[in-house]
């Protein structure tokens, strides 16, 4: 049993020498540490925060934004053990095979491997997020509620699952949930309040020599590992790489000016459309989470098929029912007139607002850069240049048009598109707080920061875990997927460190 060590008690000047240092104690870092428990590796898990929210630690996330209105940089993430899982909603869905494929209509898309490379890891990732048995799109076969028959076409009914909640407690928060597991892992030592202030390369710039660390109470020490995994999330990974520029003046892994570029999130525009079900109220699984007999918690969503995505050149999207709404005069006229023309009884028709999680088209100009402003430990703060293109909205609109067509074809209902102008889309815009793409994966060093094994191009002993390596994003929530990817990295590390 190893206690969690408070780095504020480590004397300045100390040098720790683990085999592997994992920087960041979020879902990727914790999953990696637990996956390596019981191996020959001596692992140090370095977490900047403690076991709970601390405003001084959180303030180190401060930064600035220009471009499209976006979530404050210190608001979309939490700097203590568990990271983003301390405030996530528990939404899980495996990315689709098409999310990994190069898509000619999506610039910069494509992973260096197919989804099948992650398939062996999804079951363990599902267990780690405690989302119950793997059901997802088989939910339709077993759910006892009547489903909206949307027929065949470009849209199909897909399913989310959810990380387990405990009464009114949020879904699995990795810090609290796995603290005991980290303590029980004899080869893993977790350091809290341990902030990395620099990743120091060897003089030949081909490997990491050591890490500089500091605590907010003034202690400074070093960690000299044989291997390093950076797992601080899509923003902090980029910041540490860019700020560690003493040997490579553009920062680590940034010889092709890619670190911090291609930042992405999943936009969540609300009330984008109104869906009318001619047959009356929809089953509960559309607007809320339903617990099935086997314990899986599921919720229905509407997704574009791969064939439709290709034909209509759209990106990923997951459209969900939000809440019941009332129709105005024109809406009632549209429903009555259309239902009569289709020969359908719409006397019980019910209307709902729709929301969506969208996939953004990768954009190199949507990027994080360093500013002259420094945090409490002297690390430069970030500036985010946020963009969302009209084309992103136009593509999703084509998906809604197909959904509306399909509802009419199946005589199940009809659809109103509520947002047309850019201002309307942006007015109701929320974000998934999914920080993606800033250290993208590509076999070609000119096009990616890490290779297919998540190793930083040109650096022999440094890897990156988490959604910052996603080169294209899909619309699925990333946590389950980044954990599967991390478990794959764990297997790779076991091999290369053997």
């Amino acid at each position: 049993m190893t206690a969690l060590i408070d780095a504020r008690t480590i004397p300045s000047g100390t040098e720790l020498t683990p085999d592997l240092a994992i920087i960041g104690g979020g879902p990727a870092g914790i999953s990696l540490a637990l996956a390596l428990a019981g191996t020959h590796l001596k692992v140090a898990l370095l977490e900047s925060g403690g076991m709970g929210f601390d405003s001084a630690a959180q303030k180190m996330y401060d930064g600035s934004i220009d471009g499209v209105n976006y979530v404050a940089l210190d608001a979309g993430r939490l700097r203590y053990l568990g990271g983003g899982t301390n405030h996530w909603g528990g939404w899980c869905r495996p990315m689709d095979a098409i999310d990994f494929a190069p898509r000619s209509w999506v610039p910069h898309s494509g992973w260096p491997f197919a989804r099948t490379a992650l398939d062996p890891y999804f079951a363990r990732a599902q267990a780690r997020v405690e989302a119950g048995p793997w059901v997802y799109d088989k939910s339709a076969d077993v759910i006892k509620e009547p489903l909206l028959n949307i027929g065949d076409g470009g849209i199909y009914t897909s399913w989310f699952q959810f990380s387990k909640t405990r009464g009114d407690v949020l879904p699995t928060a990795f810090g609290n949930r796995y603290a005991e597991g980290l303590k029980e892992a004899r080869n893993v030592t977790t350091y809290l309040h341990a902030n990395i202030t620099g990743i120091r390369l060897a003089a030949n710039a081909q490997s990491v020599d050591h890490l500089d660390l500091a605590t907010l109470n003034g202690k400074r020490f070093t960690v000299k590992p044989r291997w390093v995994v950076l797992a601080c999330g899509g923003m902090e990974n980029a910041r540490l790489l860019l700020a560690s520029n003493d040997v490579m003046n553009t920062g680590i892994g940034n010889q092709n000016d890619l670190v911090g570029r291609f930042f992405a999130d999943n936009p969540v525009p609300r009330d984008v459309a109104t869906l009318v079900s001619f047959g009356g109220p929809l089953a509960g699984c559309y607007g809320s989470n339903i617990t099935m007999d086997d314990g899986a918690v599921v919720r229905a969503t509407f997704a574009p098929t791969p064939d439709f995505m290709k034909k209509a050149q759209v990106a990923g999207s997951l459209t969900t029912i939000e809440q019941p709404v009332e129709l105005d005069d024109t809406g009632r006229a549209a429903v009555v007139t259309t239902a009569i023309a289709l020969g359908v009884d719409a006397s019980r028709a019910k209307a709902y607002s729709l929301g969506c999680g969208m996939e953004l088209i990768p954009d190199p100009d949507r990027r994080l850069t360093l500013t002259d402003e420094k945090d409490a430990l002297g690390l430069p703060r970030l500036k985010l240049h946020m963009t969302i293109a009209d084309e992103d909205f136009a593509r999703y609109r084509r998906t809604l048009e197909e959904f509306g067509r399909q509802l009419l074809a199946s005589k199940a209902g009809m659809l109103r598109i509520n947002s047309h102008r850019r201002e309307e889309w942006l007015k109701n815009m929320e974000w998934g707080h999914h920080h993606l793409g800033t250290t993208r994966m590509h076999d070609d060093p000119r096009r990616g920061v890490v290779d297919a094994d998540s190793k930083v191009h040109g650096i022999g002993n440094m890897f990156i875990a988490g959604s910052s390596v996603f080169p294209s994003y899909g619309a699925s929530n990333p946590t389950l997927n980044l954990i599967a990817l991390t478990l794959r990295l764990a297997d790779h590390l076991k091999k290369v460190t053997a």
Binding site: T274, D329, T330, G331, R332, A333, A334, V336, T337, T338, I340, A341, L342, G343, E401, E402, G404, R405, L408, A409, M414, L415, R416, I417, N418, H420
Partner: protein, 113 residues
């Protein structure tokens, strides 16, 4: 004379009863004054709702032009026309509502008479 008066009286009563029944069916079926477009508008079961929808379509074409266009493209069976629109993705947006193009044009016509 008495016989003629009787027949005329019965006929008058018959007309009155028929007119009354006709108005009575207003409760169930709307009756509209005749228009030059009844061959088209007759396909709409509820012309008032259609007119409300059609008004929101903001079609600038005249009723004659709309009718001419519809007569060229709409077969006798409205359901067939609408089904073809849906299958081909010919949907029009009316205040955001996605409706089959033929139904939008018919509704627009209804709003103009």
């Amino acid at each position: 004379m008495k016989r003629r008066a009787f027949i005329a009286g019965v006929a008058a009563i018959g007309v009155a009863v028929a007119a009354g029944l006709y108005r009575f069916t207003d409760l169930f079926v709307n009756h509209y004054p005749p228009t030059p477009y009844d061959d088209l508008l007759g396909k709409l079961v509820d012309r008032e709702y259609a007119a409300r929808l059609g008004k929101a379509a903001h079609q600038t074409a005249s009723a004659d032009a709309l009718a001419a266009r519809l007569r060229k493209t709409v077969p006798d069976d409205l359901k067939t026309a609408i089904g073809a629109d849906i299958a081909a993705g010919r949907l029009s947006e009316v205040d955001g509502w996605l409706v089959p193009q033929t139904l939008m044009l018919l509704s627009a016509l209804a709003s103009k008479v």
